[in-house]
Symmetry: D2
Subunit: 147 residues, 4 copies
């Protein structure tokens, strides 16, 4: 969908209450790709001993960013998406730092979109904290021309 | 672990910042089982058109409740756990209502614990909104006697 | 779909080459449910030291039996299905014995079907070896009346 | 583990009965990486109408190749591994052609190894048929020096 980044930014940061509540920020979006920032806040901690980020924060970010990547497949905002399933591997602890979560589409079918995600600390992009996969259903008002 | 429900309640509702932030309440815990309540709040919404709960809220609750079920395998709070992976199927939209999320252990090994979760509206326990699976690593200070 | 068990039996045991090659047998099928038998053969072993069944055999059986359960949603054999994703938890080793693999549908939507599976030794139905989940896309020639 | 490719080749192609039965061939192995070939045979077909490979063949190959990649973490063949879970996304149909399945380790911990896999037709390496993830438990006779 040929929309400006500001349109997506508004969706992620203002229109979706839970994203706004957690403070997610859109970093980038381009065809079949999106990235968001999870600004660190103490209430995002899941393990008070290790001071690590709650797995649910990562999960919420992955579901969100995969959805934004998926929206780049929309013809218009009349198209709709829903998460079918989400799977996350927790490779390392997320620390008390900002985290980036990226998604890219691996296959966009006429009815189903596959995405993969990764999360890393903003200051250490080469060390993956978590990896994810999600599948979304998409309802296109206008049929997809070629698959 | 032979701890009173109040001990677990304190862990879920007070000691884990993100759970406290989202308002999760422990409902029940017994050997190899736990359930929590997600009290509905408007900022938990993920889809502002359908007014449905964000998938990340469900994911956070599943990771949490699976972890509590897993803790019933602890010999003491010196044992530790970490989520290895989490997978969620989103069968139906979560509505603007309280949601219950339950977990049970399906296999507790010496180093790895398998759990399964389900989520449903508190007033409609027979209609599953989401199902989940998680695997946790467990570090036992005291070796498991038999597997 | 109102077909006799013999029709499904023919699909599983004769028409699908890989199932036939592995010797899978249909045990039962009813609305939203199916079960198959994996007769033990030495070439199904994956771990020659532990003499345990290859995880791929279980995976093939789960994909198969979930597909058969899904076919009970067909209006006719003009409907088609494809596996979107498959996830398996290996709780215990499968031994040198016959294994049963069951599937039931947890949600049948108009375009997507969710299933869950379990596998156990035929002589020990209460001890689960593996659990699985699969999501299938379904193309119905005739629209689903109500979801 | 500092073993020659022939050692791994023997494990994959001769010692594991199910791999031998399906005709899997080891293509390459290096630290934290492995690839295998699934030579096409008509009995590997899962969908007799579309003439596509059975999802269980891909699953078996992914479990196998992830295991071989994991074995490169062994100190000796006294170390052992077991699959904890396996997840596969089926992006496209596998056709009546040879398929390559690759695995790489994304995180090797002291007790758990995370891997990711992809499968593609041997003559079209850029078009991914299926993607997978697997987690393995590893029992090291000799403790891992650093994680």
């Amino acid at each position: 969908m040929n929309a400006s980044i500001d349109v997506y930014k508004n969706v992620v940061e203002e229109l979706i209450p839970f994203n706004k509540h957690l403070g997610f920020k859109l970093v980038d979006v381009k065809q079949d790709y999106a990235s968001i920032l999870i600004p660190f806040k103490p209430h995002l901690i899941g393990n008070p001993v290790k001071r690590s980020i709650h797995g649910g924060v990562i999960a919420a970010a992955m579901d969100t960013v995969g959805g934004v990547a998926g929206m780049t497949q929309f013809s218009s905002f009349e198209d709709t998406m829903a998460t079918i399933d989400l799977r996350i591997d927790y490779l390392r602890y997320g620390q008390e730092k900002d985290i980036i979560c990226e998604a890219k589409i691996t296959k966009a079918g006429s009815k189903v979109i596959f995405t993969e995600m990764k999360a890393y600390h903003a200051d250490e992009p080469d060390v993956i904290i978590s990896e994810g996969k999600a599948v979304y259903s998409i309802r296109r008002k206008q049929a997809k021309v070629r698959e």
